[in-house]
Symmetry: D2
Subunit: 368 residues, 4 copies
């Protein structure tokens, strides 16, 4: 589950969901496949908005491109129609074609009308480049790997160097999958908003945790490259059960950038930063019985509560991905430090940083 501590400078009301995961949004499930095979360290993470027939009961949705150095697919149709009609599959950059095929076949199998008596289907696949850790050129990912993730979806799932996050690096430390959730109260009703990130962005010297510029000594210790060609990215998926329409979901998606940059990001040129947001309320029927139907609409006057929660869950998801990730040996045999291991090494080598590290570890719940 997500972090168990209170987020530093949490701009939300601070009320977490039961698991502090995106799956706190009722119906949302997550499944993952991790692939470690020689110099390949990669995988798949799949998010189901619900499992009651996505193609026939589409979720209102939006995407937002913070920085478009990326190869995610499906955004064009989300933007036009404001819906998502498949699970969302996260994987590495060169797995997009295979994930697209697997997802298409899954939808065809469960919807005999697609491509025959009705239109086609719009698979959503998002990616980061894990080529720093994994041999991405092998294009090792199979449709079976994608199916395994899709079929194992559950409301409990692990974070860190797992699934599509297996080979991802965040602030030059081991990144990957992170998640968090918040409860939002409007009038007398409670809604949940959750985030899942695949973190693979940032430069170590820029890392600030809870106001502490811990990235600078870590970067010196690890001799991190200040001027590397960033091959990063971060994919953010936001889910809510609040009745937000696609315009409002796009506004929410845009606020992911606040959470992403709280730890020191600056939206680098090579960082593909893409956000997807969907609501599990006011589903859009593919075969509509009524062409005009009744739905709920939230007044934008109270949307700040969601904006605050979005900033918080994304910030916390990034931190959670860092805290949960383990150190890993990359495709070239180099040890790639997790945040926790790197900070411990910093204290061992430069004890003057033990106060800073202890404070950060305590605040993040690494030390209880």
């Amino acid at each position: 589950m997500g972090l168990t501590v209170k987020l530093f400078n949490d701009v939300s009301e601070g009320v977490k969901g039961a698991k502090n995961l995106i799956t706190d949004v009722n119906g949302v499930l997550v499944g993952q496949t991790t692939v470690d095979d020689g110099d390949v360290h990669s995988g798949v993470t799949a998010i189901w908005p619900h499992q009651r027939g996505l193609f026939k009961n589409k979720v209102p949705a939006a995407s937002y491109v913070i920085n478009g150095f990326g190869k995610s697919v499906g955004l064009v149709q989300i933007d036009e129609l404001g819906t998502i009609e498949t699970p969302l599959v996260l994987t590495n950059t060169f797995g997009v074609g295979t994930a697209t095929n697997a997802l298409t076949k899954l939808m065809l199998a469960s919807n005999p009308e697609i491509g025959d008596t009705t239109s086609t289907v719009n698979p959503i696949v998002a990616e980061c480049n894990d080529g720093d850790v994994s041999n991405i050129r092998k294009m090792r990912l199979t449709e079976a790997d994608v199916n395994a993730a899709l079929n194992s979806a559950s409301d409990h799932f692990a974070e860190g160097a797992i699934g599509a996050g297996r080979g991802m690096m965040c602030y030059d430390l081991k990144g990957g999958i992170g998640s968090a959730s918040r409860i939002v109260r409007i009038d007398d009703h409670s809604y949940t908003i959750g985030a899942l990130v695949m973190s693979n962005y940032g430069f170590l010297q820029d890392l600030v945790v809870n106001g502490q510029p811990i990235g600078k000594p870590l970067a010196a210790l690890l001799a991190a490259d200040k001027h590397k060609e960033e091959k990063g990215s971060i994919i953010t998926v936001l889910a809510t059960d609040a009745p937000l329409n696609s315009r409002q979901l796009k506004r929410i998606a845009k606020r992911a950038t606040v959470g992403i940059n709280r730890t020191g990001g600056f939206i680098g040129n090579g960082s593909g930063e893409i956000v997807f947001a969907f609501s599990t309320t006011n589903l859009v029927q593919h075969f509509a019985k009524q062409n005009v139907e009744t739905v709920q609409r939230l007044n934008d006057n109270v949307i700040d509560t969601f904006f605050r929660a979005t900033a918080a869950v994304v910030d916390e998801s990034v931190l959670s991905s860092l805290v949960h990730a383990e150190s890993i040996v990359d495709r070239k045999g180099r040890l790639r430090f997790s945040f926790v291991d790197a900070a411990k090494e910093l204290v061992r080598r430069q004890p003057e940083y033990s106060d800073m590290v202890n404070q950060v570890f305590t605040e993040l719940g690494v030390i209880k």
Copy 2:
């Protein structure tokens, strides 16, 4: 009122509203001021989406920029919030500041909360450059002129070289204000969609009316400039009582380009082509009693009916502006021909075109 004849190749179902004007949409009113003062031939056209307190009861809305060589104001907030909260004022390019001031004052007068206990207000002002006909450098338009248009709004209004359209030129012929409407049927319910255009775009040699390339002989006759620096533009306002949300209204707005180009436009570099679309249904309250309310939502599966109607009403509005406009003497004393007068002159000078002109005149209802 709009054209009384059937539109050539009408892609809609072809059912016109009672007046064949944008004011066929219940509640929509239009007021105009025409200013002829020396070498100034300009004016104001104001469109009220409804008159039941626009600021407190905003209309769902969208804008779409076909080509952004223009100075219209208010689009930024429409895009973000999906609403319009003032009347829409059309005028000439250098009247935008004055119209903004007049519109702001009108809203302040009727809403004492604005800028005091609540937020500010977003005036919508759209413009074309009538400098070909009118001395625009004089900035002659006054706030009183704007108020006169706003205060004279009615569900009947004249088309052609009137109001903001007074000095506009369309395909190098006299253009101005044109309007049309269509009835759209979804299930057992009828909706109305109406357009009002301020036409000021196009090159004469490109003009095609009802499939007839009448622009070429007219351009030769009038020695129209083939390579002029187009200082044109066309503003389109679309209104409907159908429950379209801002995403759907933006889709509708985008289809205006189909209607605009049916007569031979090609979206010239210098032509500011801006579209506004609003719905009078599902109003958004400024001081909401309920933060989550119930609204109607149209399924996009049936939106083609509206797309077709949009293409038709915009096409017909352009033609109606041409048919209704009269010839005028411009700021330099030159006679600027209306379409009807130019075509008559063509027949007089080149009788071989009398068949073409007769056919077009008959089909447009100029000859009955």
Copy 3:
């Protein structure tokens, strides 16, 4: 090659390139694979902007979404960086994953740095749904089919029901691949602009050819569905050797809509209309020797010439796809008429249309 006749109401200067194909732009090559296998009638069309190392010498580029009911991939990065770094592959909707894989492997094979010492690569794959004619659910397309198209690229290529256009239907008639080009003169320099379309959009009753509403009798004859769920789309690729930057190429791309709608389109809800535009001038180096280099820049004051040419080449490409396509038996054994065959059948059954058909056939060069 493209149409040999003069385009009706050509808004360009009317000077065609030598082949009247997109390959009139120096360096541009097109290769195609056609797949007829049982009830599968599909294929691949590949466009090479140049063959001097696309990844290392990217073309300035833009994409524009006219209507986003589509699954084309690669747009996100084009929008951000303003470049294309692979050939463009056109195919059917469910071939996108396979084409993405094939294109990625091609780029990896010729660029050992990709995914190892430098960033990843952004494959461009565009699609229409040919499911009306072809059994798209079989996902029959193979990577070998894609490679065959890529490897057979030439400056001569066939139009009509071929390559990715094999199963496409345009205005309910047989559509597919069409192309055209124009010469544009700026100062004392000549530039070429070319288009290639994959046409799969439109309703037959709306079809207007050279001002003649021939679609209405054809629709009655063929009992075309007035209210079908359009599963269409049109992909447009624009190429030029003029020094247009990505902002200007997006402006050009936007004008494709003028050409698309000249025959009666209205941008239907289900029609994915995507445009790609690139320039073969001012290439962007992946491994730049100089971080600041000297390039040419066209002043937007003269861009209308390109806008006019764009409208013309796209209009003509659509017509060329209709004229070149042959009738075909679809996946359900029904004969699907080409435009030419349908018009002949119309004359046979309703001789009163022989004048209209003869005129149109003559003007299109069907009858010489």
Copy 4:
């Protein structure tokens, strides 16, 4: 001039321009008018990109809307043509019409061709709502006030509660005008990038300065409203002499959000956050002698240096606006604290915060 201390966690290289102001970009000038008249506390801040005939020598430019709850004008044409052709005028929300008129008249006076023999002109006016402090309903601003700012432009200017920033509130403390600059080195060439902000956004409890959550005790002290309807906004103007084109300038503009949110912003619903960016290199001539000219182009591979500098100068400009602003008595007679005065009051009332305040004051250069 800007802050004299080193920015906390400066993500740029940290090399400031000589004045640490936007006017470090050669040719950029800033002029301001401050209006204190009864309950009106407002003004005008004008930025000249250069003074060598802006209309005839336009600057490459872009705008970016972080959040569109705003009434700034001129963005439509910047987006289309990628240029700015007038000075940029900043003022309060209801001064937009008057500023538009004044700016238009200024351009007409110096360019007799405008609106006569050539096209019109696109005035750029940006606004925030200072209605919390100033009686905005009076619409007190005159064209003379605007002219005074335009005519007094200099490369030295004051920051804080001055000019258009006179009545602005930032994080519920006195905000206003702030500026900063950085030197960026590409190959062997130095470029300057500068920012000017008009800060009027944020909630006090969210304020974090240099990693210190000082906003929470300040909010408790001042009983700041946690759930106020934010009527804020922040306008950011970025200037550089580097050869960035409009696409690249839009990318730069997008990074302003990093700087804005470093102090605790979350892009509130009611906060109009608009960014303008221009380059003083590769000017675009209105009356071009050559339609194709030679310009410099920066490779995006090295753009991160500008992204980092942008984040830094915007962050520092916000802080500089807070540090330079003085306390003020608002339109209702309430004292509105500056950051410095509020922090001093905090120490006086709650001495346990003296360490935090001392640290922050030292780091910001308030205490030397």
